[in-house]
Amino acid sequence: MSAVLGVSAGYHDAAAALVIDGCIVAAMQEERFSRVKNDPSLPLSAIAACLRAGGIAAGALDAVVFYENPYAKLERVMLSALRSFPRSFWQFPRAMASQLAGKVWVKDALADRLDVDRAKVTHQEHHRSHAASAFYTGPFARAAVLTVDAVGEEASTAIWKGDGKSLERVDQIAFPHSLGLLYAAITAYLGFEVNEGEYKVMGLAAFGVPALEDELAKIVTLHDDGTFALALPYFASHTDTELGFGKKVEALLGPRRSPGAPWDLASDRDRRYANVAATLQAVTERAMLGLAARARRLTGEDALCLAGGVALNAVCNAKIPGPLFVHPAAGDAGGALGAAILGAIDRGDPRPAALATAALGEAIDAGEALQLARALGLNALRTNDPIAAAAEQIARGDVIAFAQGRFEWGPRALGQRSILARPAPAEIKERINRVIKRREPFRPFAPAVLSQDAPRYFGSFAEHLAPFMTTTAPVKDPDALAAVTHIDGSARLQTVAESSVFGDLIARVGRATGTPIVLNTSLNGKGEPIVAGAADALSFFMAHPVDALFVEDVLITRGKPE
C-alpha cells in the first residue's frame, strides 16, 4: 500500500494527482491556482492542494512520478533538429534553452521543492501515462487503449492492450507524423491559440462544409490500415515553434486568418475559414475511426479507451462506434493521474475503481465567500435550501454562477464550477456568449440533463462519455433546446445522476419548467481558467453580469446588503 504523487508540467496544462492505496484522492491543474490559463509551470500549488486533500505531508509520499521521460524528450528534440539541418539553425538554440533551462532537470526540481529523497522521484513514458489515465480510470477490465496527441517523447500516437493491471504497448506512430500537430497547425492557421483554440476549431467546423478534402489530402494521407502520414513540407514544427505550419499551407489554403479579428460567418472570407475547419474535422474523424479500428484489430478487444489531447474532440468521439471511454482530462494534465496510478500499481496496489466523478479538486469555502462578499458591499446571505433557490432563479430565466463542492478535473465544468441557465430560448445563448463570456458568437453551450431523461431529448450517445461531457449527441427537438443546440443540430451533452447535488438542481428546474435540462458552461471569464476558490468566484461575479452567485449555501446578489 502506498501514497504516490503524479506530476505533469513543462509544456502546457501542468497538474498533480494523488493516489493512496490505489484510490484516486485528488487531481488538480495548476492553472486553477495560478490563474494562468494552461499554466505549464511546476504545479507546486496543485501539489500542495493534493497533499492537503490526502492529509499527508510530502515526506510521507512513497513515490513522485513525473508523467514523461525528460531525457528521452531532450534526445528527440536534438535528433529532430539534426534531421532538419540546416533549416533548424535559428530554432535550435531556443529548443535547447527550453530543455536545458528547466525541463530536463524537472525530477531534481521536484525532489528539491518537495524536500523528498531524489530516489523517490521517477518517471513514466508520456503515452503510457496517457494510456494509464484512460484505462485504469475506465469501466473496462480489458480494453484496447488509443492515445493520440501532438507528441510525447517520440510517439505521437500509440495503441495499447489493457488487461487488469497490465498495460502493454502494441503499436505506435512516431513524431513528426502526428494528428495533434496537424490539428494544432490548422488551429494556428485559423488564428487561434495552439493548445487552447482547438475546441474553437471544433465548434467552427459545424458552420462550414468539408469542401477542401483534396487540399487536405495533400497535407495528410490516411492509409487503409488505420495509420496516417503527414506531408512534412507543409509543417514547420522543426523550424518555427510559434506557428507549426509552413508557407506551403498558405499557398494551398490561402492566407492565414489574423488572430483576434472579429468573426463574420456571413462573409465569404470567414466561410472559407469555416470550410477549412470543417474539412480538418472530417479528416480527423476519419483518421480517428481508422485508428480505433486498428486498435481493436491489433488487440482483439472491443472496448476502447481514449486519451491524449485529440481525445478531447467530443464530435469525433461521438462518431466512434462500440464501447468507449474517454478520460475527462485527456490532455497533458491527465498524464499526472496516469503516472500516479502507474506508480501505485508498480508498488503492488490495486487498480483504482472506475471514475465516478470528476470532482477531484479543492473544495470551495462558503464562509470565505460570505466574508468577501460582505467586504465588497454585496448582498450575501446563507440560505436554508440553496438548490431550491438556484432552481427558482434558473426557472425564471436568470443566468447564475454556481460553485459547490470540489472543482472538476479536466477542462469541462460539470456542475461544480458552472454558469447555469435555461436551455431555451436562443437569446440566453446570445446573452452568455456576447455579454457574460464575451467570446466568439459561434461557440456552443452544453446541456446538462438527468441521466434517466436523456433519451427523451437526445439521440444515441456513448453512456460512459456523457457524464464527463466528452461526446455529442443529436438533439431531438432543437427548437425546445435552442440555447444548447449547435448549428448542426447536435449538443455536447452531460448526463447527471439525480442523486447528486447538481442532479437535484436539474430535477427541480425540470419540475418548475417541464424540462429537466440546464445550460451548463464553465465558470470563467474570457481567457481565464475556471474558478477554483471563493476569491476567484467573487472576482468573476464582480466582473461579469450574471444575476446571482451561489457558493454552497451562500447566495450573493448585487443588491444592497439586507
Binding site: L82, R83, M96, G260, A261
Partner: protein, 146 residues
C-alpha cells in the same frame, strides 16, 4: 481609446489583448502593499515623463491625431502618479525613503535583466556553434531517418 488608435495603426496587435496585459509577476503579493505602491508610483512618474517626450515629438511632426491621444494619456498618467503618491503618503511613514528604495530595486532588476540578456546571447551563439559542429552527426541522422 488606446485600443481604438492601436486598431488604426495595427489591427493585428490591437486584437490580441495578451500583448498588452501586465503584471504576471504577482508583485503586489511578493513586495507587499507599501513597496508595491512605491514601485507603481515610480513607474507612473517615469511613464508620464516618457509619454511627454512622445507627445512633444508627435507635436513636432504635426501628427495632431496621435498627439491628442497622448495629451489624454499624459493627463491620465499624471493622475495615476498623483493618486499613487497620495496613497503612498497614507501607507508609509517615510514615503520618500520608500520611493528611493523602489528606484534601487528597479536598478537591481535592470542589472539582472541585463545579465540575463548577456547570458542568453552567449548561450544562443554557443548553441549555434555547437549546431554547426554537429554537421557530421546531422548527416548521419538524416541518412538513418530515411
Amino acid at each position: 481609446m488606446f485600443t481604438l488608435r492601436a486598431e488604426q495603426l495595427d489591427p493585428e496587435v490591437a486584437a490580441d489583448p495578451t500583448q498588452y496585459l501586465a503584471d504576471f509577476e504577482h508583485l503586489f503579493e511578493s513586495l507587499g502593499e507599501e513597496r508595491f505602491v512605491a514601485f507603481v508610483h515610480v513607474g507612473e512618474a517615469r511613464g508620464r515623463r516618457q509619454l511627454h517626450i512622445y507627445r512633444d515629438e508627435l507635436a513636432l511632426r504635426g501628427d495632431d491625431k496621435s498627439r491628442a491621444l497622448f495629451d489624454a494619456v499624459v493627463a491620465d498618467e499624471a493622475h495615476h502618479e498623483a493618486y499613487t503618491g497620495a496613497i503612498l503618503a497614507t501607507l508609509s511613514t517615510k514615503p520618500r525613503a520608500a520611493i528611493a528604495r523602489a528606484r534601487r530595486w528597479e536598478l537591481w532588476r535592470a542589472w539582472l535583466r541585463a545579465g540575463r540578456l548577456v547570458s542568453a546571447a552567449v548561450f544562443t551563439w554557443t548553441m549555434r556553434l555547437l549546431y554547426l559542429c554537429l554537421f557530421p552527426l546531422a548527416l548521419y541522422e538524416k541518412r538513418r531517418a530515411r
